[in-house]
Every structure is written in C-alpha cells, then in structure tokens.
C-alpha cells in the first residue's frame, strides 16, 4: 500500500500540527476568541444579571469611560503613579545593586537566595504581612521611623501615603531585577575594560562609556516587562486597601473587576479592559520606538535574540 503512505515531509507536518493542537485550541478558545468577544461586548450594554436583554451601544461605553466616569481617570492616575514610581525606583536601585554585586565576593550565593525570596512568596499571605507592618498606631514601619523622630504616617490608611506604601512593597522584590542586570554586566567582555584602562579611562568614565551602553538592551527589555507587569496589580490592592481610603488606591484592574463582577456591567468592563490593552500597547510601542535611539545593540546578534 505504498500509494497512501505519506511522504516524510507530510508526516512531519502532520505530527507538528498534532503537537501544536493543544496550544492552537487554547489560543482560539482562551486568547483570540475572548479578545474578539470582549471587543464585541464592549460595544453593547450587556449585563450579567439580564443576559437576555442586550443592546448595541456603539462606542457609548468608551465615551462613558473617557468622558463621563471620573473614576476611570482616578484609576488611571493612581495606577500610573504607582507604576511610574515603582518602575523608576526598581531601575535605579536594581541597577545600583547590580553594580555592587558585580564587584564579586564570597557568599554571593546566600545573598542571591535571600534576594529571590520575595519572588516566590506573594499574594494574600504577603499582603497580610504588609498590612500588619503598615498598621499606623504601632506597626513595624512606624516603630522603625519613630527611631528617627518621624511619627504618625498613616500608610495604607492615608490618601497620601497609600501609593508610596505599595511602591515600598514592590521594591521589596528589587533583588530579582538586580540579578538580571548582574547577568548582563557579567557578559561584558573584560578585555573592553582592560583596553579602556590602558587608554587611561577612570572608573566613572568606564561606567559611562562601556558599561551603560552595553547594558541598555537589558534595561530596555526590563522596562517594558516591568511596565506591563506592574500595571496589572490587583491582589495587593484588593486585600490590603480595597481601593481606599476613598478611591486613592483604586488600581485600574481593581476597577475593571468591580464593574464586571460587583456591578455586573460586562459591556462597560469590556470597554475598560480594551482601554487598558490600548494603553499598554501604546506604552510598549513607545518604549520600543524611543528605545531605538538609546539602545545599543552589539551587532545584529542581540537584536534578533
């Protein structure tokens, strides 16, 4: 029966599609399908409690979000404040820490382990821990500040301090970023530094002229991922401050969640989700676009990696 046997190429292609099928099903059902569905839903007034009554409202939900709902702008403001402050601090502190760790010393393995701990413990348990630490009357944070004569910060109970408190929490995990930068630093060939030393370049000049240009690709990728990741903060806001006090920690995803699952406004929540998506795409595109100017690539190789 040689006629109905598949050629090796065909057989390989068939096998490939079989192996890829779980992903393909997942992509259609859990990614592409839901994205399209949410785009369509965002143009309707669909509500979870009245599933049989659904009307087409065009861009009405988007108009309402951007022109008629001050909470959307509040959520964007709060989230941008948190993301901006935590991303910049993580970049500065993480890179500084990486420069320090790059000096190299014995026992770095233990330091590395400790720095990574915040990466594996997260979520509700850690949120509760921070809630304890930020208790204004006699929590650890204020007890520590009391030693320096600073008193009475309300932390997560204060409209002023709630976001800085969240930024401090996120900075607890800065060690991870530091070790990513460290790996990049250690890939810089030492002969570049030797050559610069021979040419009489001092430590600072070597940092600015060799180290910084060579680590910018890593900074750049890290920046994109940090912005996307931190924009999605939810659990901490839900558990610790419930968006408060007032609306001062109403993170964007928390507001989407409330509209969808507390007010059951599926149509409106879908529009909010698409606005978030558009913002993140725009930010990513912006970082990529400006990145072309300040990112130094070592030949073509790292650009395609």
């Amino acid at each position: 029966m040689p006629d109905i046997r598949l050629s090796p190429d065909r057989r390989e292609a068939l096998a490939a599609y079989v192996f890829l099928s779980p992903w393909a099903i997942g992509f259609v059902l859990l990614t592409a399908g839901p994205m399209l569905a949410s785009l369509v839903l965002s143009l309707t007034d669909y509500r979870l409690l009245e599933p049989n009554r659904m009307a087409w409202v065009g861009v009405g939900n988007y108009e309402r979000a951007l022109a008629g709902d001050p909470l959307v702008w509040q959520a964007l403001k709060v989230t941008a404040y948190y993301v901006g402050l935590s991303v910049v601090l993580e970049l500065v502190v993480g890179f500084g820490l990486a420069l320090v760790l790059n000096i190299g010393f014995r026992g770095i393995g233990i330091v590395r382990t400790i720095y990574y701990l915040p990466a594996v413990i997260s979520g509700v348990a850690v949120s509760l821990l921070w809630l304890l630490i930020f208790q204004p009357s006699s929590g650890l944070a204020n007890a520590g500040l009391g030693l320096f004569g600073v008193a009475g910060i309300g932390w997560v109970y204060s409209t002023t301090w709630v976001i800085p408190a969240f930024v401090l929490m996120s900075l607890w995990g800065v060690g991870r970023a530091a070790f990513i930068y460290l790996a990049i630093l250690q890939r810089i060939p030492t002969n570049l530094y030797e050559a610069a030393k021979v040419d009489g370049a001092g430590r600072f000049r070597r940092l600015v002229r060799i180290t910084l240009p060579l680590v910018t690709p890593a900074i750049f990728i890290n920046l994109v991922l940090a912005v996307i990741g931190k924009f999605q903060i939810f659990t901490e806001g839900f558990v610790i401050s419930e968006g408060g006090p007032g609306t001062s920690s109403l993170f964007y995803v928390l507001y989407v969640y409330r509209n969808a699952f507390r007010y059951f406004e599926i149509g409106y929540a879908s529009a909010l989700a698409w606005i978030l998506f558009a913002i993140l795409m725009a930010l990513t595109a912006m970082v990529f676009w400006t990145g072309r100017r300040w990112v130094y690539y070592e030949g073509e190789r790292s650009a395609t990696q």
């Binding site: 890829l20 997942g26 994205m35 000096i103 997260s122 348990a125 006699s138 991870r176 698409w274």
Partner: protein, 281 residues
C-alpha cells in the same frame, strides 16, 4: 596609579560592596522575620512598644489554633488539588508545543510562533471577562476546571518560548540518531529532548507551582463554595472575620507560604539561574 594603590582601592570597594549587599539582604529578611516573630506572640503582645523582635512569651499554640479558626488543612488540600494538575499539564503541554516549534517543519509554524510571542505581551486582564462568560456557558463556575484545564492547552506563551529556546540548544544530531533507530517524535521528545532539558523543565514546573499556589484572582472568580476555597481565599476570609488576631493570621500565613519556600529551596539553583537567563518577572 601604582599597582599597590590600585589593589588597595579594589579591596576598599569590595568591602563597601559586601556591606551594601549584606544590608540589602538584611532588609529583605526584616518583613519575613517580623512575620515569624509575630506568629509566635500572644495576641496581647503583638503591638507592644518598643517593638520586641523576640517574643517575650513564645506561643506556638497559635499555629494549631490558626488551623482550626479556618479549615486550614481543607483549604491546603484544595490548593493542592488545583496545583498538581496545573503543574503536570503545564509541563506536558508546553514541552510538546515547544518541541514542535523547535524541531518540526510545517507550513504556518513561523506565523504561529509569532502569535506565541505576542501572547507573552498580552495582559491577561483583557480576556478576563469573556473567559468568565465562556466558563459560565460551559457551566464550569464553582468547579476547579477553569483553573486547571487552561494549563493543559499550551501551558502558557512564556513557558513555550522558554522551553523552545532550551530545546534549540540540544544538537539536532541527537534526534537524528534516535530517528535512524526508528523512534517517532513522541519517543524522541521523551527519551532525548526532555532528559537534556531538566533545568528548563524544572524552572517551568516551579513557576507553575508558585504562581498557581499564590493565585488569588482566579479562585476569587471561579470558586464560590466556602468548602472549596483555596488557601489564598481562605486567608482573605480569615482577615475579614478575625482581622484583629494578627498573631494567628501570621501563623496561618507562614504555614501557607511553607510549600513555596520548600519548592524554592529544592529547585533554587535552576530557579535563580532561570530568572536571570530569561528575565522572567
């Protein structure tokens, strides 16, 4: 600059660096130490001033009591019932998909891989609401299926990418030898590719474990029966009901985090190297 002066300079810098690194490590440990310390104090001594790092009266009974204030071990078991199939499904399906992308030629795979890469950047919140509606349509709300089944459908864009990169570093001749022996793709994946990729595979497994164990939003949406709560839901419930019993709350939190810390220490080397290699957040 003389050689001697340069070396002295180097020694000074090294010591300063060591001090900064150790101070940083101590800072990271402070909240964890506080959590453990609080978990061992009598409730009346939690907020004593000046603060007491070592409990004056050590009270290990907090731990036993915390596990009965909420049905801790039931929630622990519920979390395990979700985490185990998620880890297995994530590893199997992402390895199969990554293998196809790394080794097989078929029309359209390039474009599909492009979609995988795009998926890494996609914030999950965009698909949150319609996915919920899909699972509602399937009548899966209240079951663990919305939390476990997706892991078997590709295992996540990032894991596919990570494993594909790992598989690409294995010399293709190893596959060819096996193929000449008449083995099919499945057998080559199982016998040749996976045994040579343990670091990447365990990295995927550890990430899947930790992320699922700590997940709050998923169970919050899909689990509504209190007997089926996972640990994060249980802890949040604990906080809402007994929010002044900080010592017991911290005892329960410590217990909830133990599995993640154990997994982390077991897989520590691959874990830390993996984060560095991939930049995963």
């Amino acid at each position: 600059m003389t050689q001697a002066k340069s070396e002295a300079d180097q020694g000074w810098l090294r010591r300063a660096g060591l001090v900064i690194a150790l101070l940083g490590a101590a800072t990271v440990m402070v909240p964890i130490a506080w959590m453990i310390s609080t978990s061992l104090k009598p409730e009346t001594e939690v907020f004593r001033q000046p603060i007491e790092w070592l409990p004056v009266h050590v009270r290990p009974a907090n731990y036993a009591e915390a596990t009965t204030l909420i049905p801790f071990w039931l929630y622990f078991a519920n979390s395990l019932v979700i985490v185990v199939p998620v880890v297995i499904g994530t590893v199997i399906s992402s390895a199969a998909v990554a293998y196809a992308f790394a080794r097989m030629r078929a029309p359209g795979t390039g474009a599909m891989f492009g979609l995988v890469l795009a998926g890494i950047m996609l914030p999950g919140e965009v698909t949150l609401v319609p996915s919920y509606l899909l699972f509602k349509e399937l009548d899966w709300i209240g079951t663990y299926l919305p939390l476990t089944v997706p892991a078997w459908l590709g295992g996540g864009a990032f894991n596919i990418f990570l494993l594909r990169q790992a598989f690409l570093t294995i010399p293709p001749e190893h596959d060819d030898v096996a193929r000449v022996d008449g083995h099919g793709f499945l057998k080559i994946l199982w016998r040749v590719v996976i045994p040579q990729s343990w670091p990447a595979i365990s990295l995927v497994a550890v990430f899947a474990f930790v992320d699922t164990w700590n997940d709050f939003l998923g169970p919050l949406l899909y689990v509504n029966d209190q007997d089926r709560y996972t640990l994060p839901l249980g802890l949040n419930f604990f906080k809402d009901v007994y929010n002044t019993q900080w010592a017991h709350l911290m005892a329960a939190s410590v217990l909830a985090l133990v599995p993640c810390v154990v997994v982390f220490f077991l897989a520590q080397r691959v874990f830390t190297q993996g984060i560095v290699l991939t930049g995963r957040r």
